[in-house]
């Protein structure tokens, strides 16, 4: 048991037993940290987030939140993971493709889990949802269906839906990748607001400028391993590992960003 806020130990994930996507991942983060994971496509960044959320069965290792183990591989069977669902439910996640429920209104999307899974009354859930939507400037959209919203609005609703469950940590998996460039700022702006409120976050993004702005720590991963783990100031200006430098050079078309 560790005192870290989030503790990933010896995490190994393969698909079909041979395609190893994550190999012996060990990392810890403290509450209020904002860890951005960068790396080439197929390096396992999204899979790492999906494992922390419990969306993927892991082959080996364990994951703890606030010192409590909530996911652990079963050494006898790869298909069978130990999952402590109440602890896992303290983790919130937002996906690249919004994943709003298209048949429910914005308000319906927000209050479904609090009402049906957590036993909150409709009036209380609605009140909290409307407050949150108000804060995000989406109050007028409460009765709209997701199909009627812009990409940026959808993604902010998706973030609001996760926030309404009071998560201890939020996972963001390429949440701006599907958005038109002019809509990216409204979503990033909301994430920066959450950062100011000291929300713990793990973020996978291809946007290095945003990574530099929001991260307290940056992890560079490649081939299913963590290659470098450093504060953004070091990572983007003076990376230790040649592979990190190579990658940053490719994605930024310049040596470093200042």
């Amino acid at each position: 048991m560790s005192s870290s806020f989030l503790n990933v130990q010896g995490l190994r994930k393969s698909f079909g037993g041979h395609l190893v996507v994550l190999d012996d991942i060990n990392f810890q983060m403290e509450a209020g940290e904002r860890v951005v994971v960068i790396g080439p496509s197929g390096s396992g960044k999204s899979t790492l987030l999906r494992c922390v959320m419990g969306l993927e069965k892991i082959d080996h290792g364990r994951i703890e939140l606030e010192g409590v183990r909530y996911i652990e591989a079963n050494p006898k069977s790869h298909k069978d993971n130990f999952v402590d669902i109440p602890v896992r439910n303290k983790v919130g996640m937002v996906f690249q493709h919004y994943t709003l429920f298209p048949h429910l209104t914005v308000l319906g999307n927000l209050i479904l889990a609090p009402m049906r899974a957590r036993g909150e009354s409709r009036s209380s859930a609605t009140q909290r949802a409307m407050q949150l939507l108000g804060r995000l400037g989406l109050e007028s959209k409460a009765g709209a269906f997701p199909g009627m919203l812009s990409g940026g609005q959808k993604q902010r609703v998706a973030i609001a839906r996760a926030l309404l469950l009071d998560p201890k940590i939020m996972l963001f998996d390429e949440v701006t990748s599907a958005l038109d460039p002019e809509l990216v700022t409204e979503v990033e702006g909301l994430m920066l607001e959450l950062a100011e409120q000291k929300m713990s976050m793990m973020i996978v993004t291809h946007d290095m400028w945003f990574a530099k702005r929001i991260a307290t720590r940056v992890i560079f991963s490649a081939d299913g391993r963590i290659i470098e783990d450093a504060p953004p100031s070091t990572m983007f200006t003076n990376p230790r590992e040649p592979r990190t430098a190579d990658f940053l050079k490719k994605v930024l078309h310049v040596e470093t960003i200042s």
Binding site: R50, M53, G54, L55, I85, R88, N89, V91, G92, M93, F95, H97, T99, L100, F101, P102, H103, L112, A113, R116, A117, R118, F145, P146, G147, M148, R161, A162, L165
Partner: protein, 223 residues
């Protein structure tokens, strides 16, 4: 042809046609009720059922989709009672055939709709901590039904029209009544045209409803 005379002639037989239409709607409605329930069940079995059940369900669906309804009707009217050595009753045989046929074609619509719900929706359910008792009735089922509605309504129209075949085994549906009047009066043009028109008006309204539903509802939700 004198239109007024033709309409007057049809008016004389309105009751017979009306009874026929009533029977057609009855066979269609009962076939739909049992067929839709069976179709949903079969689609779920084919998705998550025991391997043996899956094979049985698949064989059933393929047989009923791959043979003419007319043969199915004859088989349940003449062959099944002979094999069982007992009377089944004409209405029972009719309803049984139509239900099994509808079950087979609607199970495919349900199956396609179930498959169309992406894994991302399931991921969202996990990320929101929704247990199956919440995610199935509030997320998966409504989307399945909504997606399946257009094809299911088309299936209904198909069943409604195919039900005319029950006239071949002597059931007094709209088609049968039309044929009888045409034979008795030797005026097939008026009667068969009127019968076709009745089928058309009903089928066409359902088809238009499908289009309206798809345009207004499904497109709004971008399902």
């Amino acid at each position: 042809m004198n239109i007024t005379a033709a309409l007057g002639f049809l008016w004389d037989y309105r009751l017979a046609l009306f009874i026929g239409l009533g029977n057609t709607l009855y066979f269609t409605a009962v076939g739909l009720a049992f067929g839709l329930a069976l179709g949903f069940l079969v689609s779920v079995v084919r998705q998550v059922g025991h391997p043996v059940l899956k094979v049985i369900a698949t064989v059933y669906v393929e047989i009923f989709r791959g043979t003419p309804v007319l043969i199915q009707l004859f088989w349940f009217f003449f062959c099944l009672p002979a094999l069982l050595g007992m009377e089944l009753g004409n209405v029972f045989s009719t309803v049984l055939t139509l239900s099994l046929y509808m079950g087979a074609i609607s199970s495919e619509s349900f199956r396609a709709a179930l498959k169309a719900i992406g894994s991302e929706q399931r991921d969202a359910c996990v990320a929101l901590g929704l247990p199956a008792r919440v995610s199935v009735p509030y997320v998966i089922l409504p989307q399945t039904v909504m997606r399946a509605v257009p094809t299911l309504l088309s299936n209904c129209v198909t069943l409604f029209k195919e039900s005319a075949l029950v006239s071949a085994v002597g059931m007094a549906d709209l088609m049968y009544q039309g044929q009888m009047i045409a034979d008795a009066t030797a005026r097939p043009i008026e009667i068969l045209t009127a019968t076709a028109l009745i089928y058309f008006v009903i089928a066409f309204s359902v088809t238009r409803t499908v289009t309206f539903y798809e345009r207004s509802y499904l497109s709004r939700m971008r399902l």
